[in-house]
């Protein structure tokens, strides 16, 4: 399967617009964006600026709750969860770059709940590549782009803050 790489900037714009229109429909909402390290944190950071959200931004590491710790151990470079606001009762939009098996999101939800009980949690992803192994779906999706199991999307950031995407 020789899939062309999607244009990540237009995918990002679609995700941003999807969230913006949902928030416009519920103007009383004060959601907190939380990005999952590393790619999700980049996407969340950009969304936070572009949507001009008044609430502080959070970042979250799923490493402590990953179900493959026994096989892969901890990542060589550990990132910390930083949630500079109260989780209890909060309206949260969890952000990741790529949605695949759903295991990262499951681990991220466990991490989030270690800090308290949010009022609600939605999921926003840049790309949904299919291949789910858990009952997890995103409410906001930049684009759906199926990819063979053995391949992987790699998101990176250019110095000017734009995204670039490759298939490995």
């Amino acid at each position: 399967m020789n899939t062309p790489t999607p244009d990540v900037e237009s995918v990002y714009a679609a995700l941003r617009d999807a969230i913006a229109s949902a928030l416009a429909a519920e103007p009383e909402r004060r959601p907190h964006l939380i990005g999952i390290h590393s790619g999700g944190a980049w996407v969340a950071q950009r969304l936070h600026a572009d949507l001009a959200l008044p609430t502080p931004l959070g970042t979250l590491s799923s490493a402590f709750h990953r179900d493959d710790y026994g096989r892969r151990g901890l990542p060589a470079e550990m990132k910390s969860t930083e949630l500079p606001f109260e989780i209890k009762g909060a309206d949260i939009v969890l952000v990741d770059d790529i949605l695949f098996t759903g295991r990262t999101v499951r681990a991220a939800l466990n991490e989030l709940f270690d800090y308290g009980r949010p009022a609600r949690v939605e999921l926003a992803v840049l790309l949904d590549r299919g291949g789910r192994e858990l009952p997890i779906e995103a409410r906001y999706v930049g684009a759906a782009h199926p990819l063979a199991r053995e391949r992987a999307f790699a998101l990176s950031r250019t110095p000017d803050g734009r995204f670039s995407l490759s298939i490995e």
Binding site: G73, M78, N110
Partner: protein, 319 residues
């Protein structure tokens, strides 16, 4: 020959000593520890990395702080912790060390945290486990004789990095009973590996082991000269229980020459930090005004010690 603390892939299987550990491995432990520091601030002060694992605390020598922080660290990682009271156990009835280990391994231990009065005991246990094919069982040295106390060395490095950021510009003084101190040895190996350009040892000749210069340190017997311009002061406990014979005239005499007082502290850099592995002998190696003063980071060391031990255990358990 490969040190038994490393597996065939060069990963950390056991933690016996800092000596010989590559710089990257030490930094990885410190970085991992940083991500564990805020676990204590969460509503749920636990992460599930060691869920279903059994950690045995084997303390053949008394310790309150180290045993407690290991126990807290293991529990924050969701492990089951079994504390063995060695004084009332089979060892007191004459069972050999390795027989004790074999029996506990048969109870499906996943990790042993070992403190022993004999240098080399944790090494012996690690080698034994590797030899009998129980290499899935991990050993953490929690202090052996005069040899090493690697997690104390690592938490000291964590504390120094927290305050000073860059190791490569520092002057660090280690003061006191170096002869009996496994903490001093672990700190010296860690500091030199991390690129600290000047490590000093300050003590009377009777408390300085031979061969210190070969470890890359400068030796001072005059505390005032040794403290000049240092960024970090690591005080050591005067180990009364290890003193046999007349190494010192008296504790009062020691305090006069090697006790850290405010006026001696003033010789160090104004932003110097004061560390101590505990327990402190106030009025012997450190004056109370310094121990409780603004430059002391002694209680922070204890707090960071939990995160560092969590990092060590979670890195070992995955290898």
């Amino acid at each position: 020959m490969r040190h038994p603390q490393l597996n065939a892939q060069g990963e950390l299987q056991h933690l016996i000593t800092i000596e010989g550990l590559p710089r990257e491995m030490i930094l990885r432990i410190l970085d991992t520890a940083a991500s564990f520091v805020n676990v204590s601030d969460r509503e749920v002060k636990k992460v599930p990395l060691l869920r279903g694992k059994s950690v045995f605390n084997l303390f053949f020598e008394n310790s309150t702080r180290t045993r407690t922080t290991f126990e807290i660290a293991a529990k924050r990682l969701s492990a089951d912790v079994i504390n063995l009271d060695i004084n009332t156990s089979s060892t007191a009835k004459g069972e050999s060390l390795l027989d004790t280990i074999d029996n506990l391994s048969a109870m499906h231990a996943d990790m042993f945290v070992v403190r022993h009065h004999s240098s080399g005991a944790p090494y012996l246990i690690a080698e034994h486990l590797n030899r009998v094919g129980a290499s899935h069982v991990h050993v953490v040295n929690a202090g052996d004789g005069r040899h090493a106390h690697p997690t104390q060395g690592l938490l000291d490095m964590y504390t120094i990095r927290h305050h000073k950021r860059d190791f490569t510009q520092l002057k660090v003084a280690i003061v006191g009973d170096v002869l009996h101190s496994r903490v001093a040895r672990s700190d010296i190996h860690a500091l030199t590996t991390l690129g600290v350009p000047e490590v000093r040892v300050i003590a009377p000749y009777t408390l300085i082991p031979s061969g210190m210069e070969q470890m890359g340190v400068r030796v001072f017997t005059d505390m005032r000269a040794g403290l000049a311009d240092v960024d970090v002061i690591i005080m050591l406990r005067l180990q009364n229980e290890r003193m046999n014979g007349a190494l010192l005239p008296s504790a009062q005499e020691f305090f006069k020459h090697y006790g850290l007082t405010q006026d001696k502290l003033a010789l160090a850099r104004p932003d110097a930090i004061v560390m101590h592995p505990g327990p402190m002998n106030r009025g012997v190696e450190i004056d109370s005004t310094v121990a409780d003063g603004a430059q002391a980071v002694i209680l922070q060391q204890v707090t960071f010690g939990i995160a560092v031990r969590m990092a060590v255990m979670s890195i070992l358990a995955a290898n």
